[in-house]
Amino acid sequence: MSSAVTRAGKYAALWIGTSLFAACSPQNGTDQVTLDLGDIEDYYDFLEERGDIVEPVPFEPEPLFVSAVGKVQAKPDIAVITAKISAEDKNESRAVDEMGQIINAVQTALAGRDIETGFTAINSSREFDQRCRNENSFARQRHNQIRGDYYFNKRLNDKGDTETKRRDPKPRVAQQVCFAQKIKVSTNMVIRIEPADAAGDVLRALSDAGAENSRLYGYDFANYDALYQEAAAKAVTLAREKANVVARKAGGTLGDIESFSVSAPERTGRFGPQPNVIRPANRYRGEDGSVIDRYVGENENYGTRRRENVTGREQYDEIIVTARKTNRSPAVAFAPPPPPQLAFAQEASTQIIRGWDGSVQEAVGTTNTNALSISLLSGPQTISVTAQLGYTYDTPLNGKIIILPDEG
């Protein structure tokens, strides 16, 4: 019955549309199709055969989407501190000696604590006279101006332009040779301390032993993944409860779960910097390549020394920097909608900063080494996970065909 009504309605609409089309369109076009009103039945059959007319679909409501945030509060049990140790001297070995003494003093000061230390980089660099370099920078800038003026005036002369004023010559500035003044040797270190409350004492000890730029990098949880799972389960349960409440209050019944998305954990690696781990080159070819200089272009023997030809980057050893966070979304065919970004509330004087890759890191807003203020920083933090669920639900109209009234 309802199908017949639908069909009749469509015929009427088609008739009106065709009439309008026939009335408004020019009649002299070669590509034009002219319909006799008596052919509507045939035309409808033609469209149906071609698949242009879709059979009425029984009513099915849009899924009910509910989202919820699951939160777990926990006190961080690990504090991550970074520091720099450096020394400089005209004699590099003396600078290394001075740095070594500070490194040893730092470790002596930290002895007996439940900490994990790592040295992320040790290297030496040359320190140049900055004033000399600045002067050279100015000299290069002046040279560029002189060259610009030179070609400006030359163009005018070549064109025979006598009216435009020439640029006045500027005095030349000579560059100087800037010699290296000192050698600076330095190392960065990272310390993980348990319990986190000891961070203040460690910062003070670092400062006393001669470390520079001591910084409370942030806090970490030994059981982060368990906390994440707890928060995620809470979020999903809460979302489901919401869906149930909505359906029940509206007099409907919740059906199947249609979509499911849970925000990914923010930490997929170790928090904070780590010492570099070197991976052997050519690992996939089963070779253990040596570290060689890119600029050596030939094989030569210097006694027992070895030089090798360089063919590509894979010849180098690779350093793996662990504990880098990624937020790469999975490249899958049927990926659900991306989960909402996590929103962290600022708590316990800890702020969340967003890294260049979009990852969220926790960082402390202060770098001072006042033990009193630092001891206040290790309060509980909240791990939040957002879940979004989509459910079907029953309505009195489910399975029925809805006929829209004709617009005409």
Binding site: E116, Y316, V332
Partner: protein
């Protein structure tokens, strides 16, 4: 025994034949599944393995300048030998491996003269009325430079500080502790990946149960991604043309005795993360 064997062979043959005939007889049509009917849950799993590294890698350079190439090479060789000797005599080292990457000799020009010629080129290219062309100088060698860069891979990692001190004490410069090596890194990465996948499955099961669903399978296992970046380790670059390193080397006198540095290498964490796509119902 023979009968048993014969019976088994017959049974096997029958089984294979029956299976083949069944395959031929039944026209199996692929089941059509609409894309929108596939319900998926994406879960990120993480895995960490902590391991003590086996080796450390130091890199550095030795640069010597003297009147003649022979003298420069001799003083270079003296330091190279001393450095290797220190490594060889250190009983704390269980393994030691030098890799000398570059050996170069170059005539060093006076940097002031080279810069003068550079400036002369600049001025002469934009000579203005009233300015005179500047004659370039002939820059002779003021010394000879011999240089070498190296990496030193050795174990155990806790001796890195001592070797750094020893190399510096003997005249090596631009020393860098590049990092640590884990011999079975492939295995460790695999373990971390395995933990990450297990972690993802566990999360998926738990979350699905909380949402009133059940995981029935996995559709995408290809999104495995280890959570580290790679960098290259290389010995320092040494300037081997023109003025060589003459403006870069600080004349700070002979090397001095250097304190042994206590560098404890801690446990390294190798992490892996994997986002898996599960089907649920």
């Amino acid at each position: 025994m023979g009968i048993l064997k014969s019976t088994m062979v017959t049974a096997l043959a029958c089984g294979v034949t029956c299976s083949l005939s069944a395959c031929q007889a039944v026209d199996v049509k692929p089941t059509e599944v609409k894309r929108e009917d596939i319900k998926t849950l994406s879960v990120t799993g993480v895995g960490e393995v902590q391991v003590m590294p086996d080796l450390f890698v130091l890199s550095g350079a030795i640069i010597q300048q003297d009147k003649t190439t022979r003298e420069a090479m001799n003083s270079l060789a003296e330091i190279v030998n001393a450095v290797q000797d220190r490594a060889a005599k250190n009983d704390d080292l269980s393994s030691r491996d030098f890799s000398f990457a570059t050996v170069n000799t170059v005539g060093v020009k006076d940097p002031e003269c080279l810069l003068f010629n550079h400036e002369a080129d600049r001025t002469n290219s934009t000579l203005r009325p009233g300015e005179r062309r500047i004659k370039k100088r002939v820059c002779k060698d003021i010394s000879q430079q011999a240089s070498i860069s190296f990496t030193f891979t050795a174990g155990p990692p806790n001796v890195a500080g001592d070797m750094l001190s020893a190399f510096s004490e003997n005249g090596a410069i631009r020393l860098t502790l590049d990092g640590y090596k884990i011999k079975n890194i492939d295995e460790i990465e695999l373990q971390a990946g395995e933990l990450a996948v297990g972690n993802a499955r566990e999360k998926a099961d738990r979350l699905a149960a909380a949402g009133g669903a059940k995981i029935t399978g996995v559709v995408d296992l290809n999104s495995y991604q280890a959570t580290y970046n790679q960098r290259t380790a290389r010995p320092p670059n040494i300037n081997t043309s023109g003025a060589g390193e003459s403006s870069q080397i600080v004349d700070g006198g002979e090397p001095v005795d250097v304190t042994n540095i206590n560098l404890e290498a801690g446990l390294q964490t190798i992490s892996a993360a994997v986002a898996l796509e599960f089907i649920y119902e």
